[in-house]
């Protein structure tokens, strides 16, 4: 019996990937775990290893092709091992269904997902993988709310935090999102339709979702980083000697991690369906990285528990992996708070959009020397413009100001960044 290998579930709501390279040829004998294909998802370029050893009978895909989770990639000839298909594209449940239909219905469990067509369309719009969801409707039917609730969540969360003490939780009202049809632009001149790349589409969907769902509010301030900058400059060569490129961003990470511990409501996600705030007792910080393919946000785990030097080291390797398209999916998920530093590109400030379903994002522009009055004297100081954008459903202006202050306080007294952890 030939065995087929289908695109496995990539997690994180990813439903498709683009084949970048096929690393084997038909007729090749491959070992288990040998690299088969290189695929690029919305998030990363990953190598897919062979699930079993044997002779490659047929390769069903080619570079450049977009494949869905569950779609058969490679068929192996019988290796005599009697194994069953790892995950074959199942026959669809249709009258007189034929082979052609099987390909058109990449469902994982051999059965269609229990959801109405309108719900399935919503899932496609929001990039939610229905096969990974557990429906809350009768008979496990997936509802629109289930889909909206799953946006951006890595997996159906099992454990919920204990309910708020003030009374039973209630779902919040939903935000309807149905863009009106576009006018026919051709009436005013020539246009060209360019399909969005995977990454662009994902960014577009996430940003639209976040901007539409979250009432954003932004707090501006400036941190005096004259001392911090002096410290970075002083330690730069020493760190370099240990193979570490010391950057301002690693100090920002540390300052944010410490401030988040003081203000845990910013290290959280709002469960609108449950009417609960999910406070995370871990601190994984996302850091926006511009790549030539678009914006990617890798995540540094347990930033609160790591010294600045370690953060600097991790940040450098992670950013490099992302730029090379080699980031693993685990590098890209599970963030609790995001920092975006546009300083390298200049600007005096920006209002970023919250990385849904997080609660807040810290934007940092370029530090500039400014004339500051200190004790009646005008002195040159290096000021770093920061903006803290947060979810007004979760926190109020005063909370935001205090949290921003908690970050600034640490940036202005850099020694705390080495002591506090």
């Amino acid at each position: 019996m030939a065995r087929s290998f289908a695109l496995p579930d990539l997690g994180e709501g990813l439903v498709e990937a683009e084949i970048r390279a096929v690393l084997v040829r038909e007729g090749d004998i491959v070992k288990e775990d040998a690299p088969l294909l290189e695929v690029e998802t919305d998030k990363a370029q990953v190598e897919i290893p062979s699930p079993f050893g044997g002779r490659v009978e047929k390769i069903h895909v080619q570079p450049g092709q977009t494949v869905k989770v569950g779609q058969v990639l490679v068929t192996f000839a019988d290796g005599g091992e009697g194994a069953t298909p790892v995950r074959s594209a199942p026959a669809a449940a249709k009258p007189a269904a034929a082979a052609v239909e099987a390909k058109a219905a990449p469902r994982l469990e051999g059965a269609p997902v229990p959801a109405a067509p309108s719900t399935r369309r919503l899932a496609r719009e929001l990039g939610v993988d229905l096969a990974a969801l557990h429906g809350t409707g009768p008979g496990g039917r997936i509802t629109d709310d289930d889909v909206r609730g799953a946006v951006g969540k890595p997996a159906p969360a099992a454990a919920k935090p204990s309910p708020a003490p003030t009374g039973p939780a209630k779902p919040l009202a939903r935000v309807g999102l149905e863009p009106p049809p576009l006018p026919s632009f051709e009436q005013w001149g020539r246009v060209e339709r360019q399909p969005l790349s995977h990454l662009r589409r994902t960014i577009a969907e996430r940003m639209a979702l976040s901007a539409a769902l979250i009432p954003h509010v932004t707090h501006f301030d400036k941190a005096d980083i004259t001392d911090l900058n002096a410290m970075v400059t002083r330690s730069f060569e020493a760190a370099k000697g240990r193979g570490i490129t010391l950057t301002l961003t690693s100090f920002l990470l540390k300052a944010a991690a410490l401030a988040l511990a003081e203000h845990p409501q910013f290290n959280a996600s709002l469960d609108a369906a449950a009417g609960e705030l999910i406070v995370k007792r871990y601190c994984h910080l996302g850091i926006a990285v511009a790549t030539d393919r678009g914006l990617i946000v890798p995540v540094i785990r347990d930033a609160d528990k790591k010294p600045v030097m370690e953060l600097a080291r991790e940040l450098a390797t992670l950013a490099q992996r992302v730029r090379d398209g080699k980031a693993a999916l685990d590098d890209l998920r599970g963030g609790t708070f995001t920092i975006t530093n546009i300083g390298a590109l200049g600007g005096t400030g920006a209002i970023p959009i919250i990385n849904y379903p997080e609660v807040a994002i810290l934007g940092v522009a370029r530090g500039r020397e400014e004339a500051v009055v200190r004790g009646g004297q005008i002195v040159p100081r290096l000021l770093l413009p920061i903006s803290l954008t947060f979810d007004h459903r979760v926190a109020d202006g005063a909370d935001g100001a205090r949290f921003a202050q908690a970050i600034i306080r640490r940036l202005e007294a850099p020694e705390t960044l080495f002591v506090e952890w």
Partner: protein, 466 residues
């Protein structure tokens, strides 16, 4: 491209004016895309309207009226023997049925500004189609949709050319009422047309290669149809092949496996349909053609060529107009950049015989074969007041649900009106409702639709619940 060619630049070129093609074209137009349809007959409707679904249903209606009149004798109502005049029958079918619908489609096309170009189109490359015939031109397109459909299959070895040997297209013209008609193929086309001719007065013999009528359909659903066919037809030979056809003195002599040769006045070959994908110049594009000439598409109806989509019969089974129409809309929306996909769970199948047989979703044998845990409920129409009142207690409603969740996976119905009754079942399967939902929904009494509710209710009691 040759100098002097008339070049027509469009957003979308649709090849084929059948249900898949016109649905795609209309949706494209609604989405603001400049769209043309290339159709050999310069008309919209395709095989469905001119040589399939619609004319066959018109003829089956005639057969049903004859059947009802015959049955009415039981109620003491005798209309006498029917007198059938073919000319008015053909005229009614061609003008009042097909013609009316054809004009309707043409006016929709006009109102949506979809141009229908007459001629056969063939790709010259991934961005252009050359159209021959009376309106020769080259169409430069941004995207194309192949909707060239299917044609009746031929049987290898039975290639005698004769007016007396008909495919479904020829049979629907009703050239005459043959005294003896041989139908090769006991699938839905053979049975529908076999019943039409039997009702009109032909002695019909059906030969089917497999061991049952309507291969692939649930055996319990086929039972009542088989009983009716046994009454209507002169003979039904299962597990039998016709091995040769000869024209002998104004008749066709058929060599039937395991029997003596028999003479027939006409023969209908109805062994399925094949995709039309050759002669389309597809070798000049990246479109991939698979087995049986089928064009492989993904769930957005994209072929392997990024600018070319395909919908309908040319993309494979089930070759049904309603599947093509949905695919057509998906392709149009995909071209317009909408997140549409052909992710449909339920494609209802309807056989418009007497009694009608219809099913949707997963049927019992299929489900058990796939190792699914299911519960099956049946409601025989002998218990239906409505069925009794129309003298048709021979129907059956069969419900397949998931054992764990009670979700409706499939429904099969046999009986008059099954084709209409299946609509509720399609909604149930497509939207993943549970048997409980069906049982708790009020169904009008007395109607045949109660069968689904009754079947669902019996499941609830089975489980000891509610």
């Amino acid at each position: 491209m040759v100098m002097g060619d008339l070049v027509n630049e469009v957003d979308v070129a649709v090849l084929g004016g059948g249900p898949g093609g016109y649905s795609a074209a209309f949706r494209c137009a609604e989405l603001g895309l400049e769209t043309v349809v290339v159709d050999a007959g310069k008309r919209l409707g395709g095989a469905c309207l001119y040589e399939g679904c619609i004319p066959s249903k018109a003829l089956l209606h005639v057969a049903a009226v004859i059947g009802e009149a015959e049955r009415a004798k039981e109620f003491g109502l005798d209309f006498g023997e029917p007198r059938i005049t073919l000319d008015p029958l053909r005229k009614w079918k061609a003008e009042r049925v097909v013609g009316k619908l054809s004009r309707g489609l043409a006016s929709v096309a006009k109102s949506k500004k979809v141009e229908v170009i007459g001629g056969r189109g063939a790709f010259e490359d991934s961005r252009s189609i050359r159209v021959g015939g009376e309106e020769p031109q080259v169409i430069r397109f941004k995207n194309a949709i192949i909707a060239t459909g299917s044609l009746p299959s031929r049987v290898p070895g039975l290639d005698l050319v004769s007016d007396r040997i008909m495919d479904s297209t020829a049979a629907l013209e009703v050239p005459e009422i043959p005294e003896r008609l041989l139908v090769i193929g006991g699938g839905y086309i053979g049975l529908e047309l076999g019943q039409v001719y039997a009702a009109l007065g032909s002695r019909v013999t059906v030969v089917e290669m497999t061991d049952g009528l309507l291969p692939g359909a649930d055996r319990e659903l086929v039972q009542p149809l088989l009983r009716r066919c046994e009454k209507m037809f002169a003979a039904i030979h299962l597990k039998t092949k016709v091995t040769g056809l000869k024209e002998v003195g104004g008749a066709i002599e058929a060599a039937v496996e395991g029997q003596e040769s028999q003479a027939f006045d006409r023969v209908l070959i109805a062994v399925g349909r094949r995709a039309v994908s050759d002669g389309l110049g597809l070798q000049t594009t990246k479109v991939k053609i698979g087995e049986r000439g089928l064009i492989a598409v993904d769930e957005r109806c994209r072929t392997a060529d990024p600018h070319i989509y395909a919908v309908g019969d040319v993309t494979g089974d089930p070759m049904l107009a309603h599947r093509a129409m949905r695919q057509g809309k998906v392709a149009a929306e995909a071209i317009a950049g909408r997140p549409s996909a052909f992710d449909n769970v339920a494609i209802p199948a309807v056989v418009f015989t007497d009694p009608e047989v219809a099913w949707v979703g997963l049927m019992e044998t299929e489900a058990r074969g796939a190792g699914r845990q299911i519960k099956v409920a049946k409601f025989p129409w002998a218990a239906s007041g409505r069925a009794a009142s129309i003298g048709r207690s021979d129907g059956l409603t069969k419900l397949v649900v998931d054992a764990a969740t009670g979700r409706v996976l499939g429904v099969g119905i046999v009986g008059p009106g099954a084709g209409e009754l299946i609509a509720e079942a399609s909604l149930a399967v497509e939207t993943a409702v549970t048997a409980e939902d069906l049982a708790l929904t009020i169904h009008a009494h007395p109607t045949l639709s109660e069968g689904l509710m009754e079947a669902a209710e019996s499941l609830l009691h089975q489980g000891g619940a509610s």
